[in-house]
Symmetry: none
Subunit: 134 residues, 4 copies
Amino acid sequence: MSALSLADARTIFAAAEKRAEELGQPMNIAVVDAGGNLIAHERMDGAWMGSVNISINKAWTARAFDISTKDLADNSGPGQQFFGIHTSNDGRVMIFAGGIPLKRDGEVVGGLGVSGGGGDQDQAVAEAGAEALG
Amino acid sequence: MSALSLADARTIFAAAEKRAEELGQPMNIAVVDAGGNLIAHERMDGAWMGSVNISINKAWTARAFDISTKDLADNSGPGQQFFGIHTSNDGRVMIFAGGIPLKRDGEVVGGLGVSGGGGDQDQAVAEAGAEALG
Amino acid sequence: MSALSLADARTIFAAAEKRAEELGQPMNIAVVDAGGNLIAHERMDGAWMGSVNISINKAWTARAFDISTKDLADNSGPGQQFFGIHTSNDGRVMIFAGGIPLKRDGEVVGGLGVSGGGGDQDQAVAEAGAEALG
Amino acid sequence: MSALSLADARTIFAAAEKRAEELGQPMNIAVVDAGGNLIAHERMDGAWMGSVNISINKAWTARAFDISTKDLADNSGPGQQFFGIHTSNDGRVMIFAGGIPLKRDGEVVGGLGVSGGGGDQDQAVAEAGAEALG
């Protein structure tokens, strides 16, 4: 039984939040299930309200294409093979760092999205969260 | 200082979740701030995925008009003064029970939305959550 | 292993199409997976183009709330507990007959949507398709 | 009588699917009619769910401008004559490879869209499908 639970999402949130606090940057954090549907979202106090949508969509994107949004970004700029993908799917495809597929036993079971700081910060917080899934 | 915090949302979630478990009906629960922007959402294991959106929009609606969605429903049916309001705001206005304005010291500071069961269940869980804000 | 496959969708299409031909009414038929994401859609020759969207959304709705859209309709009219649900989820919720949750071993594994005729016809074709899943 | 039929779409699917299997890359494949309206879509087992929308929109784009999305891409990057076209039409215009106009007797009768791999893979599968129309 590999489906993500709400308890899994909270485990991820705790680890991501800890990393965000270390960085001193409040974040929006979102977890979606294998179907791309939201399990949970939280906005840390003081985090950007414009990042609510971005965190949820980064989580969705990472699952929709089973790739980190950081890696997707490397193929989606002008002149690259997927340039333009960011306007597909009604604008839900995020092509900058902070979204990571969530795996268990080597299988993708969902996605995690983080938004609230610079690209490196979002990515670091997402990685901390994804590692917590174990 | 009356702004809702993520900690407040978690307090509300805990109380709402407890009531949902008593009713044996898993729910989606969402809290928005005074600006109608999402602070946090959670989908209890087994709750309808179609209710993710509804819970968030019930919370938004309750704050947007400072009224419970149950009371709004009583004014929004065919022949009533607000009939048609449910297609305004890009379809975000929910006109059935489960959304409640969140108050502190008599002032509206946000909204709570619950979706996942019948109207009476959603309302009961939302009331339990709102009362926890204290 | 209970996930729906493309082969499953084709089995469903064949049975639904056979029933549609018996009724002399061409249909749009759509199958979504457990996450509500489209597996396959087909429009029979001569079927309404406006029903492409409706068939896909009926399939989504049936899975999103684990209920047939016919039964959902009975709770979503004026004065009923879910009146207004049809404008939630960006207008994807269909509240008339033709959408059925797809089950295997008692578990909901997806949704089927049919659109192209009267409500009774859509429902009959959807039931024929759902039964074929076995 | 040149209108595309559902049978034509299936012929195209079979050829495209065969090519996708040779490449070892599962794909989403979609066919639209002369009006740009979906005739049929299929997602091969294991193909990206984020590519459902993209395949349908590549098919639409190829018919909407009677050009392959690969050729459109060559005119739609920064500094080029159509830069920005990807945000027109509510985000339906896809400007990367995989969409091809479908012709019969020299006349455009619809569009084919493929999404699920790299740009070269999508294009190769689309070409195999288009050739099957004969």
